[in-house]
Subunit: 160 residues, 4 copies
């Protein structure tokens, strides 16, 4: 196994539940995104959490870190809510000898207009080409962990 | 300018014209794909051809090569029909000191279900991270020019 | 003016706001739905509320009733949240000499998979063809007001 | 059985085949449109032709007429290419005691932006509410057969 995907929730995974009349984190759309894109690599996907990233605790981040360490893959793509993506990326800096790329979306993958599909494609190339390290792949840009923050007002990631 | 996109036509650009009751190569959807993905890089796009790649001549391929050489950008993303993408990639091998990534789609970008959006995202990360050379970015994989062919029957690219 | 549309909110109008990481009732998608469907009738749209239908008060329902009465149109299409659509329909039974059709959606119009577009088309034909009275147009069926309830568990409307 | 759908091809059914690099008439999307719209009626669908309507012969139109006559349903919705829809509607005027509604699309149902879904919803209400006769349901309007033509230049139907 070369590449593995770990999903943790966030906007990218949001589903609208009419019974509750609200949007909640649902099953990850990663499998259908890869299928629709005719991806011919065999990429196992591990659904770890279904959480808004604002709800992720230190223990959750440690669980993500352990999942990355224990994976036999050297190339790890993590889907994650955007609000604390930069924080989780920094926690993962302690992992050695892996290329770790985090991505997510500002609009759920299930919306007709979304950045999710583009971002997963973008991150999948990044994880195959970048040297060992931790990166955020958003807005068509690649940011090394520790050099990036989300600009909530502008709705995008930018250099620290 | 770091990155430039050159569009040449192909399935990715196809539009349905009811007046003719047929599909034709239309204006490239690249601008709307980058906008929807909230790409914050400023990436100029040069529309060079609107052709099925089976119709591209040797002179057309030379025009693509010249456009790549004359671009001030070192990172060139080319959208291209899939049928002769591998051929054009080989012609571009003579270009020095640039990273050139070709991508396209098996289903038009304007379809509800398409690989186009994923592929453009995938190629945009590849062109920013790969060393100088020519590559095809399709099916979630990166193929160096000269090592790849389209398998028409399977509907995907594979190693030569 | 023959036909008028009044929008009151509900799931059909929901938009995802990343800044708040939640879904809220937004601008009605009616105009873009009619445009995409190449509707050549000139149909004025009055945005009355942006509310989940569970939040509609008796005063709100009276405001809807007054808007219907004061409209110069004889054919009124109302988009409305599904949870209390049957209740509002009954309140409107006191309006004379108008055909009033209520519709909505179980999935927001902005989702890639939604019943909203179909339902607006369905309701627009109903309002042009049905005799004076109040109707709910959902699930491909036409229910006279007072004969219908929402089955929350099944996610559809059914006979009382 | 109250309602039946007969599909004959046309733009609404078009699929893009990469192997041929062209758009062709494919399996009708009616079933998935009804499913996505949560239609709870049980509506049998008969796929009769997969033809551009310019290719329909007099014999084909007679076959459509016979299918309508032989159907146990009194309410018949026919999907049809737009170019000769008005002609077929006139041929069906000889059928007694049925409500027959023809619809189609200017853009294939499988496109991200299409009038197909709206039009099927629109036609499904019309067929349930209009008196016996033959109608074209397009552009948000209902035209009795014999009073309507397609304006190819404007891309819509209009009064004769």
């Amino acid at each position: 196994m070369t590449i593995q995907i770990i999903t943790t929730g966030g906007t990218i995974d949001k589903i609208y539940f009419d019974a509750l009349s609200e949007f909640q984190v649902g099953e990850s759309p990663i499998a259908s995104i890869l299928h629709e894109a005719n991806v011919t690599l065999d990429i196992p996907t591990q659904p770890l959490f279904r959480k808004d990233s604002l709800e992720l605790t230190d223990a959750d981040r440690e669980a993500i870190r352990q999942a990355v360490i224990q994976s036999p893959a050297r190339q790890i793509l993590i889907t994650h809510g955007t609000d604390t993506m930069a924080h989780t990326a920094e926690v993962l800096l302690s992992v050695a000898d892996k290329t770790i790329v985090l991505t997510g979306a500002m609009q759920p993958a299930r919306l007709r207009s979304t950045d999710a599909i583009f971002n997963v494609g973008f991150a999948l190339a990044a994880v195959q080409t970048l040297p060992y390290g931790v990166y955020i792949a958003m807005n068509g840009r690649l940011f090394p962990a520790g050099t990036v923050k989300k600009n909530r007002h502008a709705g995008c990631f930018e250099d620290l």
